[in-house]
């Protein structure tokens, strides 16, 4: 399986990463090198195996429904690149 330039640009858009033309070719060849390895997964022994999402066979623990956090806005928002009146600011979102 190999990645075309159009696919690369589509994936880059999904990931919100700009792929400039001068990097695209090298990047595409790198990614294709990685995807080539993925051909090894075309192994019939895998067909009937249960996909494994986690290394341990554990179940989700449930937290009691209690409020444990208090307002810590000042600390938590200290690193915001742009803020006003307790809101994070972003360029105008058009709906």
């Amino acid at each position: 399986m190999s990645l075309t330039n159009d696919q690369l640009q589509a994936v880059a858009h999904l990931a919100r990463i700009a792929v400039e033309p001068d990097w695209a070719e090298a990047l595409r060849s790198d990614i294709n090198g990685i995807l080539e390895q993925a051909d090894r997964l075309d192994d019939p022994r895998l067909n009937d195996l249960e996909p494994m999402a986690h290394p341990l066979d554990q179940v989700q623990r449930l937290r009691p429904d209690e409020v444990t956090e208090t307002d810590d806005r000042e600390t938590l928002m200290a690193a915001a690149p742009a803020q006003e009146n307790g809101l994070f600011l972003v360029p105008k979102v058009i709906e």
Binding site: R16, Q58, E69, V90
Partner: protein, 489 residues
């Protein structure tokens, strides 16, 4: 209800996706409060903000509430469910993904029964629910002007939701509204959602398509978002059916798309077509493990189920002798049923009288004031006092309405209002006899005519006595005395 009729020769196919915010104290994956109305971002903790390194831990309350919903609609509660990530970029989505349940939802299947029409036109329909899954809500984008920027408030981010997905089982806007109302009633009966549509606690998206009558294949559908009242839901679906039928009848084609309902213009507007739809790259959330529920837990939750609207309506009919329609109206919302039950909790209360008052005077008052029954200016115990005075003959129905108005406007106690306004009904036979005698004495001509066979004049005498009594005489007693005096002598 609207008297909308689908264009002849066409059938609409409607399915709803309902997002109900769960009434937990804390968020689905963090210990931050879910209370509405805090200062922006004051209830967004490190986990809600998606700071580097934070991790989610699932709230037991959210799992329990979602399961209660499933039990209430007779669905299957998944013994193993799991969370997936839905990846997309949006400023109100802090982590760049929404944690939701795609592959293994907690609630599978289930159904609700709805009734449309009244009296002889009443029809029952079963609407099937495909699934209901747990997920986290996003924050809010505030578009007021911050120097041309948008403000992001993440207080709502991480509030637990259940998304309830119906089968495309509805054929009219009326059915869709009835279904949405039924789900709304159920979540409120269960106490798992406050149902506030204005604040967005209960949000309805509608998938609408049309097809020629008799066709079995589905048409291309549009998804309508942003509907925040039942009335708008009705209007939005009506508009959308008309739009699609017009398109198809004029040789056009329906394009799969997402549309926004604009209540000001009463129309749906294109938001995006399928082509611009994101590729959400769902995959199992590696930070959360499978949620496993055992039989004992589910059994203990089942035991917590309250009496639900359909069961309650059945009981109102069998226990109180109410009509199916009245029972349906009184149980349509938990708040109405609670109000009604509080009124009839009084010893000796007459459920039918109470039902008439709740559906009549109370509903009219609320309608006039645009209030919900929970905010009714005449609380249930006051109405019970009032009905008690009607029951014991102190008040006529007419005087009762006057007291009710006074209660609504000024408050106070029923007896004090009766006293202050002198509204007490005259039931004393002696006093009524005296008034009747006066009227007979003052109208000899009419008495003669009546006794000569002009029966219709009886009403004239009643009117004269009531006039003399300033309307306060017990009408039944007036009738009896008049009859005795006029016919007997």
């Amino acid at each position: 209800m609207s008297d909308y009729v689908i264009p002849s020769g066409w059938e609409a196919v409607i399915g709803l996706e309902i997002h109900a915010q769960l009434a937990t104290r804390s968020k689905i994956f963090s210990g931050a409060s879910t209370a509405f109305g805090a200062e922006p971002n004051a209830q967004a903790c490190a986990v809600d903000l998606g700071l580097p390194g934070v991790l989610p831990v699932l709230n037991e309350g959210a799992v329990r509430m979602a399961s209660l919903f499933g039990l209430a609609i007779d669905a299957e509660i998944s013994r193993v469910s799991s969370f997936d990530r839905k990846n997309y970029f949006y400023p109100d989505l802090p982590k760049g993904y929404q944690t939701t349940q795609l592959a293994r939802p907690i609630v599978v299947g289930g159904q609700v029964t709805i009734t449309t029409g009244e009296g002889k036109q009443a029809r029952e329909h079963t609407i099937n629910v495909t699934r209901a899954h747990l997920e986290e809500d996003a924050g809010k984008s505030l578009h007021e002007d911050f120097h041309g920027m948008t403000g992001i408030d993440l207080n709502r981010a991480g509030t637990p939701l259940i998304e309830i997905v119906s089968e495309p089982d509805m054929r009219t806007p009326e059915q869709a509204v009835a279904y949405a109302r039924k789900i709304h009633a159920i979540v409120q009966y269960l106490g798992i959602c406050d149902g506030n549509m204005q604040e967005g606690s209960f949000r309805v998206d509608a998938n609408v398509s049309v097809r020629p009558e008799g066709e079995t294949a589905f048409g291309t559908r549009a998804e309508i978002k942003n509907v925040n009242s039942f009335r708008f839901l009705q209007r939005a679906i009506e508009f959308e059916i008309e739009r699609q039928v017009d398109l198809l009848e004029t040789g056009g084609e329906v394009v799969q798309c997402t549309r926004l309902y604009d209540p000001d213009r009463d129309e749906t507007r294109l938001m995006r077509t399928k082509e611009d739809a994101d590729d959400y790259r769902y995959f199992p959330c590696p930070d959360l493990l499978p949620v496993v529920l055992d039989e004992a837990t589910i059994k203990s939750w089942r035991a917590q189920l309250p009496e639900l609207p359909d069961a309650k309506a059945g009981r109102y009919q069998s226990e109180y002798g109410l009509s199916a329609y009245d029972a349906g109206v009184l149980t349509a919302s938990r708040a109405t049923a609670e109000y009604f039950e509080a009124v009839i909790a009084r010893d000796g209360a007459d459920p039918k009288l109470a039902a008439n008052w709740v559906m009549g005077e109370v509903a009219a008052l609320l309608n006039r004031l645009e209030l919900e029954i929970g905010d009714c200016p005449v609380p249930a115990d006051k109405l019970a006092d009032l009905l008690e005075r009607i029951g014991d003959g102190t008040l006529s129905n007419k005087l009762g309405r006057e007291v009710f108005e006074a209660l609504a406007e000024e408050g106070g106690s029923v007896d004090a209002i009766i006293e202050a306004r002198g509204l007490k009904q005259i039931s004393d036979t002696g006093a009524i006899e005296a008034m009747v005698d006066e009227v007979i004495a003052a109208n000899p001509g009419q008495v003669e005519a009546y006794r000569g066979g002009k029966d219709k004049l009886f009403g004239f005498f009643v009117g004269q006595v009531m006039k003399a009594a300033k309307g306060k005489a017990n009408p039944q007693a007036v009738n009896e005395v008049l009859k005795r005096r006029l016919d007997g002598d």
